[in-house]
């Protein structure tokens, strides 16, 4: 369904004082160009000045058939006839032709020579562009000023060049052509200060596309996109200029494989509808080949297909087959603020529009070609023009204006956060609507520029009496307009008489006061039957306000209706289209001569006046935009539709506070419906988000009421939000009790109730509630709703977290539960290690519970990085506890035994450690720390390299526990010999258990290489030392079983102690014999 609204996008009109009947019309650069029917003169009228005064008039060299203006380069290009020949010419510097009697220079393309520096007066100059074929149509690129010419079988692209006068003066006439290398011209040289306007335009033939058999009628060019249409076919390709000849060749090969040789006459072409998007368009049957022009510096061009569409005439009703022809082909670029700061010459979006008499088609080309909208016209359309904000079309008797979706596409290119919960924008697929139908008589043609629409009407085609009637009877016109609109409604399946809003809309006079206030629109009594009108559209903000006004009216009659939302969405896009545009330049919209975009000139500064003006204007627009977002938010929050989630991003974009949103959503006393799902969705999101904002008690209580009504099951989540800190706990408790009765008990619900009891200082009830569930279940409850324990932190790794009041209470009552819950949260990625540290610090238990937490995480974790980190941290803590002799934490959650049993990181203590550091040696707390540290060193995971430096600070051998740690480390590093010495020095009774445990396998040889000689030496010095002697004896026993008698003999000392060895030698020999 096409919505038809009766907005007033047209503000006023002027009649251009043209003397002769205009034949050709085009506009650009603030100017309307008019060529009288059959005339040889171009008249330029200023659009920027009141009354559209004549700027200048200049003669053409032949009779123009087609005129086209390019704002870039400020040139007018014509296809003109003279003596049965057709010429293509570009008129440059035409603004200097204010008095018609100045001489006009003429030259061929590329023959650069003359110029203002020689004349000292700037002079109009005509460039004649020779072609080997007859030109049919032309187009100028709105981005680069390049020129595309369609001939019968080819499309020729000319690149716009700007030559500085300095270069030219050095050239002599004969060699000018050869010497004018593109390298000179590619970079436009800034204008010299003495003669600021001197620079000469030229064109360079850069690529020729052969398209035999298509028969082009119109072309368009924009940022490398080339569009061409024949009677019933449209083809869009993209030209890529590449300086890499290799890829170019490959692509060219690809291009030529399109079948070219087939004569369309050889087989019957089935006429049918066809739409081929992207590279699939290559199969369209139209052959396109690139001819290289040999201009090396322009690089090579390659081609990709973008779009092909074919129509079949007999499928269209209402128009005869002959009338069914394509027209109004247009490529429309859209620049947006952010993107154009990155690359000012690349439009963010490129749109392609073309039209049949009854339907117009708008495609978006960049980032994947896509049909945006098909415009169903109520009657045969003669011509259509797309602008950023609107589509204007003319029928024989009316100017109509449709909404467009360009801004919706551009917004998504500009902002990747659209279509998330952050930001929203009406969809590209939003149905287009007709905003206005304005009657005119005998419309012929139209062009548009910014907020101006130029219309040519000529009544002489009508029978004179009809023209007369139309001119003088306004009521007749109103009647016609009324019945026409009614027809449209009926055609769309709406009977206006059954819809009060439409009825009232249709009953209002169509020529509103806004319109009637301006000059009469019927042809003035000038005698001639034609008129050239300039119709100005209203400012976007005005149109926006009108749409909002209408939407309010719709809202009154159909509060849930689609129309209200649709109008607000349309209004949204009107604002967006303006807000998204790049900041205005000093000159205003058209980028025109002499500021051709060169590197230096791109960032034109707006003049201060224009700047402050636009700044103020922009503020107004932004305020309107926020207001619109709020209204759209209301629409989506109230409605019961599937798009209700859009309330969230729109409210966000509106900048409204939650309390403001709440007050907008309070149900009216009379209204039966309460809160909409969109509003509840918004609230849910708001409460889930970590904001610093704490709601007032009233607001928080209201939220509790809202959820009690709409989604009571969400109450637990709602209460867990930090924003709800000030909610009145008694009220919540009552609600939760109801909920419990209704839905049964659940852990989060019970814990939430416990939290509320805590806030009420009702410890007894708190304890009761907490005891309802086993600790394990409570842990699961915390995983389900971590915010029962922690606030903040949902923003990821670095965000601050705080413990809740409940967490504080658990620290006092159930520290084990708290630690277990924290471990569970950590292991479920609900909290980061650093954040947990913070929480325990804030709870004041970084010395005990935090360490318990670390131990528990170490036990539970499988992440290597976490394990390494915790091993180190715990080693530090244990050493700290050992050395500081600090007041020990009252109770440890896990003993060494527990840890050894529950994970591999804590190893079983070596037997010799019990001899070295028996349990009674230190205080029980230090004992525990020592054992844990020893156990870590006995385990496989502890990185010795990291702990070693810490241990080195401990004075060696001062204590036996210190010794034990050193020996553990040294053993881990394989320094067993060292350990043997240290143990013999300080604790010889541990040497044999140590040797039994560690001197195995590769270290076996140390028994006789290190231990035996050491013992021999030491017993010799201390002959009475029983411990040493016992050790020696044990050692000899081991050695005798491990080595051969010959080796044993080698070990025998020379002195008397050798006697001591003999029994062992014997044992050794006997073993040998047995074996």
């Amino acid at each position: 369904m096409v919505h038809v609204y009766n907005c007033h996008p047209f503000a006023s009109q002027q009649i251009v004082q043209v003397e002769q009947e205009p034949g050709l019309l085009c506009s650009g650069g603030g100017v309307i160009f008019v060529v009288a029917t059959g005339g040889c003169k171009v008249e330029a009228y200023s659009l920027d000045q009141e009354g559209c005064p004549l700027l200048c008039r200049f003669a053409t060299m032949g009779t123009p058939r087609i005129i086209q203006y390019s704002a870039i380069g400020d040139y007018l290009v014509t296809i003109e006839d003279k003596n049965n020949a057709t010429y293509l010419r570009a008129y440059t510097n035409w603004r200097y032709q204010a008095e018609e009697k100045s001489r006009v220079g003429v030259r061929m393309l590329g023959h650069l020579l003359r110029g203002a520096s020689q004349r000292s007066v700037a002079q109009m100059e005509i460039i004649e562009i020779p072609l080997s074929e007859r030109p049919v149509a032309v187009a100028c690129c709105p981005v680069t000023g390049d020129l595309l010419v369609a001939c019968e079988k080819t499309l020729v692209l000319f690149t716009l060049r700007r030559e500085s006068q300095h270069n030219l003066n050095q050239l002599n006439p004969q060699s000018s052509f050869q010497n004018t290398q593109p390298s000179h011209s590619k970079k436009a040289v800034p204008n010299s200060p003495s003669n600021p306007n001197v620079s000469v335009l030229d064109f360079e033939r850069s690529v020729i596309l052969h398209i035999p058999g298509l028969g082009p009628q119109q072309v368009a060019l924009c940022a490398g996109y080339v569009a061409v249409h024949a009677e019933l076919e449209v083809l869009v390709v993209k030209l890529h200029s590449s300086l890499d000849p290799k890829t170019a060749e490959e692509l060219a090969d690809m291009n030529t494989c399109v079948d070219q040789g087939e004569d369309p006459g050889d087989f019957l072409v089935l006429q049918r509808h066809q739409e081929l998007l992207g590279e699939r368009a290559r199969d369209c049957g139209v052959s396109v080949t690139i001819e290289k022009t040999g201009m090396e510096e322009t690089g090579q061009y390659t081609l990709s297909f973008v779009l092909y569409r074919r129509f079949a005439p007999d499928f269209f009703q209402g128009c005869s087959v002959e009338e069914t022809k394509l027209h109004s082909l247009q490529l429309h670029p859209m620049f947006t603020r952010n993107k154009s700061m990155q690359c000012p010459e690349e439009p963010s979006c490129v749109f392609c529009f073309f039209s049949l008499p009854t339907t117009g088609y708008l495609y978006s080309l960049r980032g994947g070609v896509e049909l945006l909208s098909a415009y169903q016209y109520p009657e045969k359309v003669l011509r259509a023009v797309l602008t950023d904000d609107l589509l204007h079309v003319i029928t024989k008797s009316a100017l109509q204006c449709f909404s467009v979706r360009c801004a919706a596409v551009a917004a998504r290119v500009e902002d990747p956060y659209i279509d998330t919960t952050m930001r929203a924008c009406p969809p590209v697929s939003l149905k287009v609507c007709a905003l206005r139908m304005q009657l005119f008589i005998g419309l012929r043609t139209m062009c548009a520029l910014g907020r101006h629409v130029m219309l040519l009407s000529a009544a002489d085609a009508e029978p004179p009496e009809e023209a007369d009637r139309a001119t003088h009877t306004r009521s007749f016109m109103e009647f016609r307009e009324h019945s026409m609109l009614t027809d449209i409604f009926l055609a769309l399946g709406i009977d206006p008489t059954t819809t009060p809003a439409l009825e009232s809309l249709l009953s209002r006079p169509f020529l509103s006061k806004k319109w009637a206030g301006s000059r009469p629109k019927a042809p003035s009594v000038t005698g001639h039957g034609w008129n050239l009108y300039v119709v100005n559209t209203v400012s976007p903000i005005t149109l926006y306000h009108e749409m909002v006004e209408y939407s309010c009216r719709y809202a009154e009659t159909h509060p849930m209706g689609e129309s209200c939302r649709h109008l607000l969405s349309e209004a949204h896009l009107i604002l967006r289209a303006t807000l998204i545009k790049p900041l205005p330049t000093a000159k205003g919209e058209p980028r025109e001569l002499p500021e051709m975009p060169t590197d230096g000139e791109k960032a034109q500064r707006p003049t201060t006046d224009a700047f402050t003006d636009s700044k103020a204007e922009r503020q107004v627009m932004e305020t309107a935009f926020r207001e619109n977002c709020a209204q759209l938010g209301d629409c989506f929050s109230r409605g019961n539709q599937k798009d209700c989630h859009l309330a969230l991003p729109y409210y966000r974009m509106s900048g409204l506070s939650i309390t403001e949103v709440m007050s907008r959503n309070r149900p009216l006393p009379i209204s039966p419906c309460s809160y909409g799902p969109g509003f509840v969705f918004y609230l849910n999101h708001f409460l889930l988000e970590e904001t610093d904002q704490i709601l007032s008690q009233e607001a928080a209580d209201e939220i509790i009421d809202i959820f009690s009504q709409t989604e009571p099951s969400q109450l637990v989540t709602v209460c867990a939000s930090p924003a709800m800190a000030d909610v009145s706990p008694a009220k919540v408790l009552r609600r939760l009790q109801h909920l419990e009765q209704a839905t049964g008990m659940s852990v989060p619900l019970t814990v939430t109730m416990a939290t509320m009891s805590l806030r009420l200082d009702d410890l007894r009830r708190y304890t009761e509630l907490m005891e309802k569930h086993a600790e394990m279940l409570l842990v699961y409850g915390f995983i389900e709703e971590p915010r029962l324990l922690l606030h903040g932190g949902s923003g990821g790794r670095d965000t601050q977290v705080r413990p809740t009041q409940l967490a504080n209470q658990l620290r006092k009552d159930q520290p084990g539960l708290l630690a277990a819950a924290m471990v569970a949260l950590h292991e479920n990625n609900k909290v980061q290690l650093e954040q947990a540290d913070q929480v325990f610090k804030e709870l004041g238990c970084e010395h005990n519970l935090l360490v318990d937490f670390w131990e528990a995480v170490l036990v539970a974790s499988t992440k290597e990085a976490i394990i390494q980190e915790l091993l180190f941290r715990l080693a530090v803590v244990y050493i700290d506890r050992l050395t500081s002799g600090m007041a020990a934490p009252s109770k440890l959650l896990k003993s060494t035994e527990d840890l050894i049993n529950s994970c591999s990181h804590y190893g079983t203590l070596y037997p010799w450690l019990r001899i070295l550091t028996p349990a009674s040696n230190t205080g029980s707390q230090q004992q525990e720390a020592l054992q844990k540290l020893q156990s870590l060193l006995c385990g496989p995971s502890m990185p010795i390299g990291a702990v070693q430096p810490l241990l080195e600070q401990l004075s060696l051998g001062a204590t036996l526990w210190g010794l034990s740690l050193h020996v553990l480390c040294a053993t881990r590093r394989g320094q067993h010999g060292n350990c043997i010495e240290k143990l013999l020095d300080h604790c010889p009774q541990a040497i044999i258990p140590y040797a039994n445990h560690h001197l195995q396998e590769t270290y076996m040889a140390l028994w006789w290489q290190k231990l035996l000689p050491e013992l021999c030496n030491r017993t010799r010095a201390e002959t009475e030392n029983g411990i040493l002697l016992a050790a020696l004896k044990e050692t000899l026993l081991v050695v005798a079983t491990e080595i051969s008698p010959v080796e044993f003999l080698e070990l025998m000392p020379d002195d008397g102690t050798a006697l001591y060895f003999l029994p062992h030698l014997l044992a050794c020999s006997q073993r040998q014999l047995l074996a």
């Binding site: 002769q20 009947e21 009288a36 029917t37 059959g38 005339g39 040889c40 003169k41 003669a59 060299m61 032949g62 009779t63 003279k82 003596n83 049965n84 020949a85 057709t86 010429y87 293509l88 018609e100 009697k101 100045s102 001489r103 006009v104 220079g105 003429v106 030259r107 061929m108 023959h111 020579l113 003359r114 020689q118 004349r119 004649e128 562009i129 020779p130 072609l131 080997s132 074929e133 007859r134 002599n172 006439p173 004969q174 052509f177």
Partner: protein, 201 residues
């Protein structure tokens, strides 16, 4: 025909310095400027006038006579309706060169029937006392080359300038009447070949 004004292209050819630019200026602006710039390449000026009841836009093309500018001017000979061959009566060489100018024009303008093409000959600077070319010699040349009308002009004191240009217009219009008579319908445009063949480049 009533709304349309016909556009007539008239081209001034002749040696550099004979006074082509001065003649055009005199005719269009009725001024004589001794400090006129040298013409480089091609320029034109339009003048609207009524001749024998016809509204005509006369497009006067001024060219640079020097040899070195040839490549700049010759592309624009095509489509001319009339050619004004100009010499200076105080410069016999400029008179002798007229034949070459005519040849260059006929060649580059691609004139189908040179003998029927309207040329007008102008002997300029008649205000100068020391003549090198006599009126008789000039007339003789005109007679022998195709019976061209001959005008003795002075851009300096405006002698015969308007008359010469108006004669050019009259010549063209009389030619057109003949062709209009000969080809009453626009059958020409129905034939593709002559059109595309006559196309630029």
């Amino acid at each position: 025909m009533s709304a349309k004004t016909s556009l007539l292209k008239v081209i001034l050819l002749g040696d550099g310095g004979v006074g082509k630019s001065s003649l055009m200026n005199r005719y269009v602006t009725n001024k004589f400027d001794t400090h006129l710039f040298h013409t480089i390449g091609v320029e034109f000026l339009n003048k609207d006038l009524e001749v024998d009841g016809h509204m005509v836009t006369l497009q006067i093309w001024d060219t640079a006579g020097q040899e070195r500018f040839r490549s700049l001017r010759t592309p624009f000979y095509r489509g001319s309706d009339c050619c004004l061959l100009t010499f200076s009566v105080d410069d016999s060489q400029s008179f002798l060169n007229m034949g070459n100018w005519k040849k260059e024009f006929v060649y580059y303008a691609d004139v189908k029937e040179p003998e029927k093409f309207p040329f007008v000959v102008l002997g300029n600077k008649v205000d100068v006392a020391e003549r090198q070319v006599s009126a008789e010699d000039a007339r003789q040349w005109c007679l022998e080359n195709g019976n061209y009308p001959y005008y003795e002009t002075s851009a300096k004191d405006a002698t015969n300038v308007a008359g010469a240009f108006e004669e050019a217009v009259r010549r063209v219009l009389s030619m057109e009447e003949r062709t209009d008579h000969l080809i009453p319908t626009d059958t020409v445009s129905l034939h593709r070949k002559p059109r595309s063949a006559s196309c630029c480049s």
